[in-house]
């Protein structure tokens, strides 16, 4: 008789989604097993050694605000930090880090190891069953014969399910970067009734640093940013390593064009759907034939290795062709490839099977998170990981699930898009997806979400107190600005007038003065001693004051949205009952089964008339 081990939660996969999920359920008090095919590859970054940027950086800060890990670990392992979009406005400012990917793995592993309720195990699942009985439970068998049981499974298997790697016309079953793929698990899931789609992604070659000529490239140094991603650990800027910029040229493009018949994406070898968000160089050359050059960034992978990442040259051409075109790029003339670029096809769970809480509708206690849901990116994976973790915990507690609204968090946008948009390519978050972009700023992520993090047990008492104190300080700044009058005749007032040319007859508060575009908080802080320094906390207040008109507009829009979100559609609702739905709407609503009228309205093909008919029918049903 095989040995059976029981847990509250089994997390399958220890990537960026899996680690966040396991950490969340453990923090919520559940005995959690983190199961992976290979523990050496925990929190591995198979693509760019980089975290953040617009949208993605917002997600990192939100996961951090909830008590997740990606922000902290990035802060502790960054090689370079930059603040992007500083001149483009408050909504889109974003941090972006280059990280030491090996250090990242070590730190993440040590966090998992230190967590008392997390058990770690390496193993491959060969069987998966839903045990019958009063308490729904999942039963997993490993290839070694070990049986694992838990009421909750969180599947965070990344691109491993039936992973197939393409390099030129060479094709072999593989996970990312030469790892073992998962073959039995997707078969068992398919037997169970889970429907999959095939997606495709890819990465570029890794080169040996000492084979490159940096003289021919432009250095991209990092900056001393005033803060990192995490709200909870002290910010220590680390040694700033540089990235390097160079460009492709017509010769590069010529080689690629000449060899397209060997590119799996163009010769029909790949059937999976690729992404527009980070296209391979083949795609860029084909789709933008007029562009004389494309950017190439050389990014450090780790302080502990000479390997560097080549951003911008993702390719699945044969290795010798990759070498040939790489060597046309200035500075890369003698480049030695350590690992070739490749394309990978993998199974993703068709999203209409998911609730926005990331649970499979048909299978209680079975959650999915990360790339397996059709997203792309570590940040998107981490966000789903923590959400699947929190919702798995709430499920075990018998409590209402947690889903931030679209006006509350990018996380809300991500999960909502995932189920209403019907992805036809891997999903990457963009700030353009957020209709409440100005409200969802990176500096106010904790104000938006920390309460939830504390309520669900992911943030400690000490962290919560730190947060409350910060909130208090922010309120203080607001009050000071509102209570302090701007007197143009005072010494401070004269300085402001000198700098801005503002002359005023009536007395106004500093808060009102700050609304003027030519006045900044920093300027006021320099002349009014009672104002604290222009840090992130002051920026929260400054943005609230400066953009209150726009924020009020977003708030009004959000209010309308909230009303629609409050209107629930009962589970298992039969859309055939509702007369007058258009055929397209009926089909989509049935397939996607939105939880609220708001979600229903965001499904393409569901028009205002359909919504009206549905609303009336639902109200009628409630009255009966």
């Amino acid at each position: 008789m095989a040995q059976t081990k029981t847990y509250d939660v089994i997390v399958v996969g220890a990537g960026h989604a899996g680690c966040e999920a396991a950490y969340a359920t453990a923090k919520m008090g559940f005995r959690t097993l983190l199961l992976t095919l290979n523990f050496s590859n925990i929190a591995f970054m198979p693509c760019n050694p980089s975290v953040g940027g617009p949208g993605k950086g917002h997600l990192v800060r939100e996961v951090d605000a909830l008590g997740g890990l990606i922000g902290r670990v990035t802060d502790l392992t960054h090689l370079q930090m930059r603040s992007l979009n500083t001149q483009k406005g408050p909504a889109v400012r974003a941090l972006r880090a280059q990280v030491d990917k090996r250090r990242y793995q070590e730190i993440m592993l040590s966090i998992m190891e230190k967590e008392p309720l997390i058990s770690l195990r390496q193993g491959e699942i060969v069987d998966l069953q839903q045990s019958k009985g009063t308490a729904a439970s999942w039963r997993l068998q490993l290839s070694t014969g070990i049986i694992l049981e838990a009421p909750v499974v969180i599947l965070a298997a990344g691109t491993f399910l039936r992973g197939t790697v393409h390099i030129g016309l060479t094709t072999f079953p593989s996970g990312p970067q030469g790892q073992h793929p998962s073959i039995s698990l997707p078969e068992k899931l398919a037997e169970m009734g889970v429907r999959f789609r095939r997606f495709k992604t890819g990465t570029s070659a890794r080169l040996r640093r000492r084979s490159l000529n940096f003289e021919a490239m432009k250095e991209q140094p990092g900056e001393e940013t005033p803060h990192g991603f995490s709200f909870w650990i002290p910010w220590k800027p680390r040694l700033q390593a540089s990235c390097w910029l160079t460009y492709t040229n017509e010769r590069t493009h010529e080689i690629i064009r000449k060899n397209l018949h060997l590119a799996p994406m163009y010769c029909g070898a790949i059937k999976g759907v690729g992404t527009r968000y980070c296209p391979a160089i083949e795609g860029k050359v084909v789709n933008f034939p007029d562009r004389p050059r494309h950017q190439v960034f050389i990014e450090p992978e780790s302080a502990g290795t000479d390997e560097v990442y080549v951003a911008g040259l993702s390719s699945s051409l044969p290795e010798e062709i990759q070498e040939e075109f790489i060597r046309t790029v200035p500075g890369l003339e003698k480049a030695e490839i350590v690992r070739p670029g490749y394309a990978i096809e993998y199974d993703v769970v068709a999203a209409e099977q998911l609730t926005p809480y990331l649970q499979l509708k048909e299978f209680p206690g079975f959650f999915c998170a990360g790339q397996i849901n059709g997203t792309s990116g570590y940040e998107e994976a981490a966000a789903q990981g923590i959400m699947a973790g929190i919702n798995a915990g709430l499920y075990l507690k018998g409590k209402k699930p947690f889903l931030p609204r679209r006006d509350e968090a990018y996380i809300g946008v991500l999960l909502d898009d995932l189920i209403t948009k019907e992805l036809d390519e891997p999903y990457r978050i963009m700030t353009s997806f957020a209709e409440f972009r100005l409200s969802l700023r990176q500096e106010n992520a904790d104000l938006r979400l920390a309460e939830y993090g504390y309520r669900y047990g992911l943030l400690s008492e000490a962290e919560y107190e730190h947060f409350l104190a910060k909130k208090e300080r922010i309120q203080q700044i607001q009050t000071t600005l509102e209570k302090t009058a701007f007197d143009p005749r005072s010494a401070a007032g004269r300085k402001v007038t000198e700098q801005t040319g503002i002359t005023l007859q009536q007395r106004i508060s500093l808060a009102e003065l700050l609304q003027k575009p030519e006045v900044s908080y920093k300027m006021l802080q320099e002349v009014y001693a009672e104002l604290p320094p222009a840090n992130d906390e002051a920026r929260v207040v400054e943005n609230q004051i400066k953009y209150q008109g726009y924020l009020a507009r977003e708030a009004k829009m959000a209010e309308r949205l909230r009303k629609m979100e409050e209107k629930q559609i009962p589970p298992g609702f039969d859309y055939n009952e509702v007369p007058n739905l258009s055929t397209a709407a009926r089909e989509k609503l049935t397939r996607i089964a939105p939880l609220t009228l708001g979600q229903a309205g965001r499904i393409s093909g569901v028009g205002p008339a359909d919504l009206s008919a549905l609303l009336i029918w639902l109200e009628a049903r409630m009255k009966r």
Binding site: K88, N287, R291, Y550, S612
Partner: protein
């Protein structure tokens, strides 16, 4: 339950005796306070339920649009279960649309098809069986709307608006691409050029919205009022323009006690010609009423023809009339009776009236009449109407959406000029596209993402 207040004309379109405007929602009373006054001009402060009351309706410029009776129903004892204000004005599409516009300016939005009934059901005022009928109604009406949309899809309006959308999307996509891909090679936004593009689109849309007025004229006829002293030949002129004996023509001053309104086809343009009682001071109570009504017609006219008797000269009363009308309304001075020896000529008019269009006609001989018709047509719809602008908007809802889009675009041009950051510029730019999307049925969020990736090579 619903926070928005909606308004619609509740009577079927056409020239009925009365027309009902219904306003429903939490703002109904507040809107009433803004657009209704006692006939004396005093504000209305009390709103007793279900009482018939008399008042006047004001436009957003505080001008009297109509005399009306109104009822107020307090929630939940109304058709929709919300606060409802019903205004019964004089029928006639133009009049009702003016009231509708006033209600919208005061905060109501146009109701969707079946929306009153939908609210009635959701607020528990009607039962399920009735509700099912409502669903049919909504579907039927949206099918019609859909059909109309389909027609527009292949039509010129849609093509035209899509071109406008494309121009806006090009600017938006460039901004958005740079915001989401700060490290890719996306050309910096040329604020001046973007400003010009946005300004041009705004102008095109504004023209379209103005054309909407002409579209309405085409559909419902413009009102042209003949005003002037008694016995200057207004009725004869009317008959000439109508081509039939409609008005009673007698040599006795004050023959036209009431008014005469007839639709005429002026070179293909439907025009409602109104012959008013002479605008003169009189002690005859019946005639006084006629004079009062004549002034009301002047108020709501698109064009006034002040008819003078060229054989008689200009009286002080007529001078006053011209002064009263000019500045308020477009007007022509008509020197009638050119067949008789003139005592009044174009050159003989006082200096202060120079600049006003003057036409010399003879209602008796028909001289100058064709020229008059041409001038009326040009004044109402422009010289190249039907040839110049490619499209005409006829729906009030579309006109309102266009006007909204123009306002948002004006914010964008101001923002571009004042150095507003790009993330904020997108807010109004998107709002403008959403307003156009209400007409074209396009979803901004999908369009912009497609535009980004089709125009810019982004992503590492």
């Amino acid at each position: 339950m619903f926070e928005e207040t909606i308004v619609a004309v509740a009577t079927p379109p056409g020239e009925g005796g009365i027309g009902v405007i219904r306003i429903s929602g939490p703002q109904a009373q507040a809107i009433g306070e803004r657009i209704l006054r006692h006939p004396s001009g005093k504000a209305i402060t009390t709103w007793p339920e279900r009482k018939v009351r008399l008042g006047v309706v004001l436009s957003s410029e505080q001008k009297i649009i109509d005399e009306a009776i109104f009822f107020f129903f307090r929630a939940p004892r109304s058709y929709t279960g919300e606060d409802v204000l019903e205004i019964q004005g004089h029928g006639g599409q133009k009049n009702l649309e003016l009231i509708l516009s006033a209600a919208m300016a005061a905060g109501a939005r146009p109701a969707e098809p079946g929306e009153f009934t939908k609210r009635a059901f959701l607020n528990g005022r009607i039962d399920l069986a009735q509700a099912e009928a409502v669903i049919d109604l909504i579907t039927a009406q949206t099918d019609l709307a859909h059909q109309a949309a389909q027609e527009q899809l292949s039509g010129r309006l849609s093509t035209y608006l899509r071109q406008c959308e494309e121009r806006l999307l090009a600017v938006l996509a460039q901004i958005e691409a740079a915001l989401d891909y700060p490290e890719d090679e996306i050309p910096d936004l040329d604020r001046e050029e973007a400003g010009r593009t946005i300004h041009d689109v705004a102008e095109d849309l504004r023209t379209l919205a103005v054309q909407a007025e002409k579209g309405r004229i085409l559909r419902e006829a413009a009102t042209v009022v003949l005003a002037g002293k008694p016995n200057v030949g207004k009725s004869s002129l009317l008959n000439r323009l109508l081509g039939e004996e409609r008005a009673i023509v007698t040599p006795i001053p004050g023959t036209t006690r009431d008014f005469v309104a007839e639709i005429s086809n002026l070179q293909g343009l439907p025009v409602r010609l109104v012959d008013t009682a002479g605008l003169r001071e009189t002690s005859d109570p019946l005639e006084q009423e006629g004079v009062r009504r004549a002034w009301r017609w002047v108020e709501r006219a698109e064009l006034i023809l002040v008819v003078l008797d060229a054989a008689a000269g200009l009286s002080a009363e007529e001078e006053r009339l011209i002064e009263d009308v000019r500045g308020k309304k477009r007007m022509f001075i008509i020197l009638n009776k050119s067949d008789l020896p003139p005592r009044l000529t174009v050159a003989g008019l006082p200096e202060k009236f120079s600049g006003l269009p003057v036409l010399t006609v003879s209602a008796f001989s028909g001289e100058g009449l064709e020229d008059l018709e041409t001038k009326i047509r040009e004044e109402l719809v422009g010289k190249d109407f039907g040839r110049g602008h490619p499209v005409i908007v006829t729906s009030l809802r579309h006109k309102e959406a266009l006007e909204r889009a123009v306002r948002y675009l004006q914010n964008v041009t101001a923002g571009l000029r004042d150095g507003l950051s790009e993330d904020l510029l997108t807010i109004d730019l998107r709002a403008a596209l959403e307003a156009l999307g209400e007409i074209t049925g396009r979803t901004v969020s999908d369009e912009v993402i497609n535009a980004i990736f089709s125009r810019f090579c982004v992503g590492k």
